[in-house]
């Protein structure tokens, strides 16, 4: 049968609804829910109406001012002393708080968009009612409407609360921070700041922060590759060792390793920093065994950058290999045995079996989660922050040390002494772009795998 792929045209255009609809239908274009009320869908109509009234009240009393102040983020940028004529005294006027103005401006924009969406839903519902009236179809009663919420419209019931949560705690902050990247919000403009376009991007990519950004970016990528590759590779090897024939009490051995991962990171990594300290137990142990002549400065403020970086990667292996082992164990147990058997019959030794069969199969299955891990490592805050705190210091960097990743630098720029909030917002956007590029690449690759 011939089937058209294009969507069917709507049963009635909005123009037709407007021209031929009765007065309540026409009214629905201005007063949301009018048409629903006319057709005895009280609950729906009342909900539309109340929302619109509430929205208009909010718009008049607070929305309009929030939106209009968004254009310049407050007029008063610096603290001023002005002479008040009426009282004859000098008054200190504090600058407008741009942080709050921007926040409520973004909130107002989001509410506006939500309202436009709701208005569109209202129009669709009006059109549906118009078409049903025109064609003498069955108009759903209140009861049917409500019952459909638990059936055809279950998704809207189940998603309402999560979406409110996402909008309030993810979308609002994210949009807020993105807009902050286009301001001059820093320690010099800590209360009143203004829009400055791409100035902050310019600072990071070619201005005074570029000398920090590119080296830190380079280390972040090196770190992410090394951390992902080492934990994955050795995790697979460890899993195969535990899964190999003859080893008893496999669950016990796995648990021994998992304990390290299960300990909260702020405990294990903070204590690891103590353990590796210049005067810490590891150095004392190595000294007393006469393996080293003088203590090694693994992660201190004046450590060798290369030593510190290697230490960070090794410590990350300590934390990361157990979980990688756990995941690859599940995959190894499900690997088809026949290929391995066939290879053995043909005289392949265990190393060849691993290299040509087991490892590629695991790699294939784990490719998507490896990309996830890679992106996770780009954003691996805990290991760096708790273990080294970004140390050793690098005098060529601004607000970052040799082991700092982009995220820890972002954190320092906000909560450290430099207080360059706009630059940290720019970094957030750049990290997003990097993650997005890698994810896109990964999804295309995995799709290619699937087709091939």
């Amino acid at each position: 049968m011939f089937r058209r792929k294009n969507k069917l045209p709507p049963a009635a255009t909005y123009r037709e609804v407007w021209r031929k609809g009765d007065w309540t239908t026409k009214l629905s274009f201005f007063v949301m829910g009018a048409s629903a009320l006319k057709n005895r869908q009280w609950v729906k109509g009342a909900a539309f109406l109340i929302t619109e009234v509430a929205f208009l009240i909010w718009l008049v009393f607070s929305g309009i001012s929030s939106l209009s102040m968004l254009s310049n983020l407050g007029t008063l940028k610096t603290k001023k002393v002005v002479f008040d004529q009426s009282q004859g005294v000098y008054l200190t006027k504090l600058p407008d708080n741009s942080v709050v103005i921007l926040l409520f401006g973004v909130l107002a924009v989001i509410l506006l968009i939500a309202m436009v969406g709701l208005y569109w839903v209202n129009l669709r519902s009006t059109r549906k009612l118009y078409v049903l009236n025109r064609d003498h179809g069955h108009i759903e009663t209140n009861g049917e409407e409500l019952a459909s919420l638990l059936d055809e419209r279950l998704h809207s019931v189940l998603l309402t609360i999560p979406i409110i949560g996402i909008v309030a705690f993810t979308i609002l902050p994210t949009v807020y921070m993105i807009s902050m990247a286009f301001t001059n919000y820093d320690s010099h403009h800590s209360i009143g700041f203004s829009w400055t376009g791409f100035q902050a991007f310019h600072n990071v990519l070619s201005g005074d922060l570029a000398g920090t950004f590119f080296p830190v970016l380079g280390w972040t990528l090196i770190w992410a590759v090394c951390a992902t590759a080492t934990t994955f590779f050795f995790g697979v090897l460890l899993a195969m060792l535990i899964e190999s024939k003859g080893i008893k009490h496999k669950a016990f051995w796995r648990t021994m390793f998992i304990i390290v991962y299960a300990v909260p990171q702020f405990v294990s990594l903070l204590m690891m920093a103590q353990f590796l300290d210049l005067q810490g137990p590891l150095n004392n142990l190595l000294l007393s065994w006469h393996w080293i002549a003088k203590p090694i400065n693994f992660i201190g403020a004046s450590a060798n950058p290369l030593v510190a970086r290697i230490t960070v990667i090794v410590v990350n292996m300590w934390v990361g290999i157990p979980v990688s082992m756990l995941v690859s164990t599940a995959i190894i147990q499900n690997l088809p045995e026949d290929q391995i058997e066939a290879a053995r019959m043909d005289g392949a030794n265990p190393f060849q079996v691993f290299k040509s069969i087991t490892f590629p199969q695991i790699l294939f299955v784990m490719a998507p989660s490896l990309i996830q891990q890679f992106i996770g490592n780009i954003n691996n805050f805990n290991v760096i922050y708790l273990l080294t705190g970004g140390y050793p210091m690098n005098n060529n960097y601004s607000g970052a040390g040799d082991t700092d990743l982009l995220v820890t630098w972002l954190y320092n720029l906000t909560f450290g002494q430099t207080q360059r909030y706009n630059a940290s917002a720019v970094l957030g956007i750049l990290i997003f772009i990097i993650s997005a590029v890698f994810s896109l690449f990964a999804y295309r690759r995995t799709n290619a795998f699937k087709e091939g």
Partner: protein, 285 residues
């Protein structure tokens, strides 16, 4: 034939030795943490592996500490994590179920937006969350709980991967018999997702116990240690104790051990669910 057997025995014992060595290497720092928590020390610094003198005073000192109210932290964290666990699990499971089993107009859009939002580093929104909560006067435990719960809607991937593996024909059969989708969700979806519910509840319950960053930003402005959660309280204690008040360092370690032991045990017991959780999405390859 005998030589083959001997070779196999040798290989097996070599593997056992290797495993044992690795376990020792891996657990050595953990054992040291426990030893350090038992060591008598007032230098604010632990530089030995085997304590010169054993004592339990670090534990009693931590529990009775007035300046760092450990028991208050425990109670706060228990409260936050329990509420967050119940709400987050409900939200995560319903989002995952909806996206996996139901078909509706903006499903694809929702997945795409979630994917994009997930790529922004979480730290970026911290300042914003701080100001949002501040302007609504919510810089307290309730605000912290809301932050944890608010993020739950986007952590649906693992649970969705799980639901994707359950054949849809079960739902369709029930719908044929006249069940509404709500009934399908309640009587088929939820019972089938028990391991997923356990996994989600476990991870959301543990999160407040180990998070020292968000809790620090949100709770620190009150300045009252009684309002802290355990992770931030201990972290804050270390930063104050290091260098200044030297007797507190070993108490900090004792506090860490007290908190790490139950979490570790919980995690080890639940590791089966954890593996199922991680691999549920990856299995489809």
């Amino acid at each position: 034939m005998k030589s083959y057997k001997a070779q196999r025995r040798l290989s097996l014992s070599l593997r056992y030795v290797l495993l044992a060595v690795l376990v020792v290497v891996w657990l050595f720092p953990i054992v040291w943490i426990i030893l350090a928590s038992l060591s008598y020390n007032d230098t604010g610094f632990v530089s030995t592996i085997w304590p010169e003198k054993f004592t339990l005073s670090n534990y009693t000192g931590m529990l009775l500490n007035k300046q760092y109210p450990f028991l208050d932290w425990m109670r706060n964290t228990l409260l936050v994590s329990t509420v967050s666990m119940i709400l987050s699990t409900f939200i995560t499971i319903s989002v995952a179920y909806t996206l996996s089993r139901l078909r509706f107009a903006f499903r694809k859009k929702f997945l795409q937006i979630a994917l994009i939002l997930g790529m922004f580093p979480g730290f970026m929104s911290m300042i914003a969350l701080y100001y949002i909560l501040k302007s609504f006067n919510m810089l307290n435990l309730a605000g912290l709980t809301m932050v944890y719960v608010g993020g739950a809607g986007l952590s649906f991937y693992i649970a969705k991967g799980f639901f994707d593996t359950i054949p849809r024909s079960i739902d369709e059969a029930a719908e044929m018999d006249g069940a509404t989708r709500w009934q399908v969700f309640l009587h088929i979806g939820l019972p089938l997702s028990k391991p997923m519910i356990v996994y989600t509840a476990l991870t959301t319950f543990i999160a407040p116990w180990v998070d020292f960053i968000f809790s620090g930003i949100i709770l620190s402005s009150s300045g009252n240690p009684k309002n802290y959660t355990i992770a931030y309280g201990l972290y804050n204690m270390l930063h104050n104790a290091k260098g200044t008040s030297t007797t507190f360092f070993t108490q900090f370690i004792a506090g860490c051990v007290m908190i790490a032991v139950p979490i570790t045990i919980l995690f080890v017991i639940m590791q089966k669910f954890y593996v199922n959780g991680i691999t549920a999405g990856a299995d489809k390859g």
